[in-house]
Symmetry: C2
Subunit: 332 residues, 2 copies
């Protein structure tokens, strides 16, 4: 039986081997992605992001346990950790995970701790979701460890993006938060048993109101009217704020409920299809860009590239001029 | 007088206008970059990165004041903040900055708060450094607000990368730290008047020893020998750990000293030139990639692209197959 066939039938060892091939971008991995692609499009992708220290991993574990026990859904977790493989991160998180989730055949956890280009990470994440999707996982959680732009970009690949906060984080974190709030479909204040939870909630509500005004002003038969936004347009989704204590499992059922409502909303509004389209569009662009680049590099003589690069180093031509010369020379 | 001429002569208003053109990637901006490029290659680029809450902005301000007062150097600061423009980050940091540094003609501060693709941010940062470099700024500090992979990638464009830590950050932050430690040329424990500074320093030293073993084993005339690394190879740079209290200016002179030693080291070892080469190489690649993509997109019929994209959305062909079809069709 082929590796892809074995993955489609749910073999965990084959799945694990295929993910490694995909991560290494091997010819077998690429061929398998092509074969598996028609079997994708069913899974619900959930992105989880937020500043370090907010307890994302515990939250993801609890949510996974909930989906397993209450809804018998199969869950895959992709933990994207762009930090170095040589210590810390992935290992630490995985140890906690093993305790809570190990031995459950309905859960598959894979971390990507390898460094490399940001583009590479995003593309590997997209490919991983396709593998899990085709292997029949109902829910795929993409958890990003950092809180930078690239992590946010990866998390927003999902149908539902959860932004996790915690009380008592400093001003600078608040500032970063404002940026990621815009992409939140569901907000979570984790560690909600800690002091300062009211302040955090108030700050979030204020920021949310800036991003999603609850009053909309419009003209109706020439008169200026103002009504509450949800009534004005049923298509508007106001991100709910959920409070959780992940270590105790508190608030997890309510969070799952918020997520379910969001899924229903985007299925109804057409946003689910739009997000799928945007995700596949970016993926196609990334593949195209890579293919164009390697095609070009295989055609341009190495000596010529080096020679032009040397002129740039010497500051006699700029990178822009260098590229112009390369492109003209190549088309002749 | 042309805008570039005016920038070369130190006109601040022209500089500001040019940066906006570069940020918008306007034809004038691109033309100016080509004109200015031969005037670059003199500035010392310093990258500053680290987790939120470590006090990076205050540290950058104090370091800038030091370079102004003690060494009369002209300093440009590029604050890269990938978070949203609509609240927080850049504004907050800028307000602190205005208090400390405003009115000094030898300092120029520019934030990039606009969101967009990560690649775009890195490319704009590279272009900004060229503008400041050609305008005669001796030191260009690239400060990144987040702590994700993209921020790290941007900070490492520099000749000298400073990683800032603070006592008392949680486990998850420690884990991220491991990743960014690898790129540190100089380590700073800021807020060193806080409790826990010894623990932080010990943890950093342990991690550093993993990354840079102080004993090297090698073979000499057939015998296995082991000696201290710095003696074994004078080219090895062990990142020093500096302790600072940026709000009081404590430890800033010593930090400047560490930075000066690093510059002397990389000038001597040839690493300065290697880093320049790597930076210009990546920039050229990014420009080439963009040019190839826009050339391709201008040649491929829009209807055809849409039609193939639609097949991907329907899951009848995979993104890889779609790209193959696009590339073959286009070359015929």
């Amino acid at each position: 039986m082929s590796l892809t066939q074995s993955v489609l039938e749910g073999n965990r060892l084959s799945l694990s081997r295929l993910l490694t091939q995909v991560e290494n971008n091997s010819p077998e991995g690429r061929a398998a992605l092509i074969e598996l692609f028609p079997h994708t499009g069913r899974a619900h992708l959930i992105g989880v992001t937020g500043a370090p220290g907010t307890g994302k991993s515990s939250l993801v574990n609890q949510l996974t346990l909930y989906y397993r026990k209450q809804q018998n859904k199969r869950v895959a977790i992709i933990a994207v950790d762009p930090s170095s493989p040589f210590t810390g991160g992935a290992v630490l998180g995985d140890r906690v995970r093993m305790r809570d989730l190990s031995g459950d055949e309905g859960v598959f956890i894979r971390s990507m701790a390898s460094r490399g280009s940001v583009g590479g990470l995003a593309q590997t994440t997209a490919s991983f979701t396709q593998v899990f999707d085709s292997a029949g996982y109902d829910i795929i959680i993409i958890e990003t460890v950092g809180a930078g732009q690239s992590e946010v970009d990866i998390a927003r690949l999902a149908h539902t993006t959860i932004v996790v906060e915690a009380p008592g984080l400093g001003d600078e974190i608040q500032a970063i938060k404002a940026g990621i709030l815009e992409i939140a479909d569901v907000l979570v204040i984790n560690k909600a048993d800690r002091p300062g939870v009211e302040n955090t909630e108030r700050a979030l509500r204020t920021t949310l109101e800036l991003a999603h005004p609850t009053k909309r002003v419009f003209r109706h038969h020439g008169q200026v009217m103002s009504i509450d936004a949800p009534e004005a347009n049923a298509k508007i989704w106001i991100p709910p704020i959920n409070k959780t204590v992940a270590t105790d499992g508190k608030g997890i059922a309510e969070l799952a409920e918020s997520i379910a409502k969001h899924v229903a909303h985007i299925r109804h509004s057409g946003d689910w299809a739009l997000r799928d389209r945007a995700r596949l569009g970016s993926e196609m662009e990334a593949v195209l860009q890579g293919a164009l680049m390697s095609q070009f590099m295989s055609e341009v003589p190495k000596d010529k590239y080096k020679e032009i690069m040397e002129k740039v180093i010497q500051r006699s031509i700029s990178p822009y001029e260098a590229v112009k010369i390369l492109l003209n020379g190549n088309s002749k």
